[in-house]
Amino acid sequence: MIDPFSRYPAPVRHRLVYLAVTAIMLLGLLAFALRGVIAGG
């Protein structure tokens, strides 16, 4: 399997994974907060 982060040193890879996980968390938070707005049209 191709690792998209393999060209970066470990500290950069860890930060990229952290940012990716944080982005997913923020998307989850936004989806949670916006569900009322979306449902209300």
């Binding site: 690792d3 982060f5 393999s6 060209r7 970066y8 040193p9 470990a10 500290p11 890879r13 860890h14 930060r15 994974v17 952290y18 996980v21 944080t22 997913i24 968390m25 989850g28 938070l29 989806a31 949670f32 907060a33 916006l34 569900r35 009322g36 707005v37 449902a39």
Partner: protein
């Protein structure tokens, strides 16, 4: 455990409260009120998961490394802090008794002072807890004192937030979500108890004793421990242990040190320790016969099971310790693969186990390149640091691109080595290193 599976489990734990709340059947409130509640729930879920990331659990750290586990512990603490700090300021609904017709508290926040007070106390405690951890090296505080304060502070924050979440949280009125919060809190608390209660009991059952302390370089010692009444430690060359010498098994006076011995050499375990901090300053005065305890093995700086056609070991200063363990093991295994040791120090007196390294070169065929920043007259090794130019000069052989590279030393040296190797076309999976200082 597979790293991707670990990430998926981590996301499931931290996002589960949001998901359960969204499907709890309660009507959504305004965008800002939902953002506020969501940020609070996310912060608390991350805080509870932090206990697992700091718990020395081999099932978590075996594949990704203890250093990576701790790094994510550090990074996600920042996320938790940001979400927690934002949480109270995002609310728009008033804090007052509920309207009789508003049974799901869609329009007001709780006015229960005790529920708010526990949240405020946790909120006030969390900021110094995280900032103190980030700036620990700059604090004039013993590691053991900081560790105790960090553990107790984190437990207090988690307990206060459990009360706040159950008493003030609109969605925690749902019994399923309340049970999830209590379950996550229980797991977090259990992880803390496993370190401070269970591990000491296990350590007491497997005591060690200092067998010898010998100088191996300027202000650097090799401390060898012998098992007392048990068969010893099952470990891989290159791993590390939390070492406690001269204190009880429950003592907080323990520090991580790389194991420099080879498992194949017998049941004694050795550590190379340089005089640097509180404990290490006194290491030369440790007497044989002193009791010791180990929390081990940890770490993934290992070549066991790797089938690359050659192994290059890159060490800076006392970072030689785990790499010496690997070389000793390869020699005892009569591993036929070519090995290279690039070893950097400031002055010649700092070269650890120099005679043994020379012997490895003669009898195991290890190619050894010493680098000194301040070489003595007549020095025939490399003059200068282990920097990008060094790696370009010595590791650019195309035949070495298939090798395994193991790096241990100061952060700047490891950064230079890793960046240079990746620049030379070495895939990241063939580079192993452990870092314990990031901030």
């Amino acid at each position: 455990m597979n790293p991707r599976l670990l990430l998926a489990i981590y996301l499931a734990i931290t996002l589960a409260p949001l998901g359960l709340s969204a499907f709890s059947g309660r009507p959504a409130r305004s965008l800002w009120d939902e953002l506020a509640s969501g940020a609070g729930m996310l912060a608390y879920a991350i805080i509870l998961a932090e206990f697992l990331l700091s718990g020395r659990f081999r099932s978590i750290s075996r594949r990704i490394g203890m250093d990576v586990t701790m790094r994510f512990h550090q990074l996600f603490a920042r996320s938790a802090l940001v979400f927690a700090l934002l949480h109270p300021f995002l609310y728009r609904a008033p804090s007052k008794p509920p309207y009789p017709w508003d049974t799901t508290r869609q329009l007001t926040l709780t006015d229960d002072l005790s529920a708010i007070a526990s949240g405020v106390a946790a909120w006030l405690l969390l900021t110094p807890l995280v900032l103190q951890a980030i700036g620990r090296d700059r604090l004039d505080m013993r590691y053991e004192v900081w560790r105790l304060m960090h553990g107790l502070g984190a437990a207090a924050v988690a307990a206060l937030l459990l009360h706040h979440t159950l008493a003030a949280g609109r969605y925690s009125a749902d019994p399923v979500l309340a049970a999830v919060w209590i379950g996550l809190f229980a797991i977090a608390l259990a992880s803390l108890l496993s370190i401070y209660l269970v591990k000491p009991v296990l350590k007491r059952m497997r005591p060690w004793v200092v067998d010898s302390v010998r100088p191996v370089a300027a202000r650097t010692w090799e401390v060898t421990l012998a098992p007392r009444g048990h068969g010893g430690l099952r470990y891989l060359a290159g791993q590390f242990a939390w070492l406690n010498i001269g204190h009880g098994p429950a003592s907080l006076f323990e520090n991580p040190f790389s194991i420099s011995s080879a498992p194949a050499a017998g049941n004694r375990v050795a550590f190379i320790i340089k005089e640097l901090g509180d404990f290490t300053r006194t290491v030369g005065r440790i007497r044989p016969g002193t009791p010791a305890y180990l929390d081990a093995p940890h770490g993934h700086l290992c070549v066991a099971g790797r089938d690359e056609p050659g192994i290059a070991l890159i060490a800076g200063g006392v970072g030689i310790a785990p790499l010496l363990g690997i070389l000793r093991q390869l020699r005892l295994d009569r591993d036929p693969r070519p090995t290279l040791l690039a070893y950097g120090n400031r002055v010649a007196e700092q070269i650890v186990c120099r005679d043994e390294i020379d012997d490895l070169a003669r009898h195991h065929g290890t190619r050894v390149i010493h680098a000194l920043q301040e070489p003595p007259p007549g020095w025939t090794g490399h003059s200068g640091m282990l920097d990008a130019a060094f790696f370009r000069d010595h590791l650019a052989d195309p035949g070495m691109r298939e090798w395994l590279f193991v790096i241990c030393g100061p952060p700047a040296m490891m950064d230079a080595a890793e960046t240079a190797l990746i620049g030379l076309g070495v895939p990241a999976r063939q580079i192993i290193c452990e870092r314990f200082r990031y901030d």
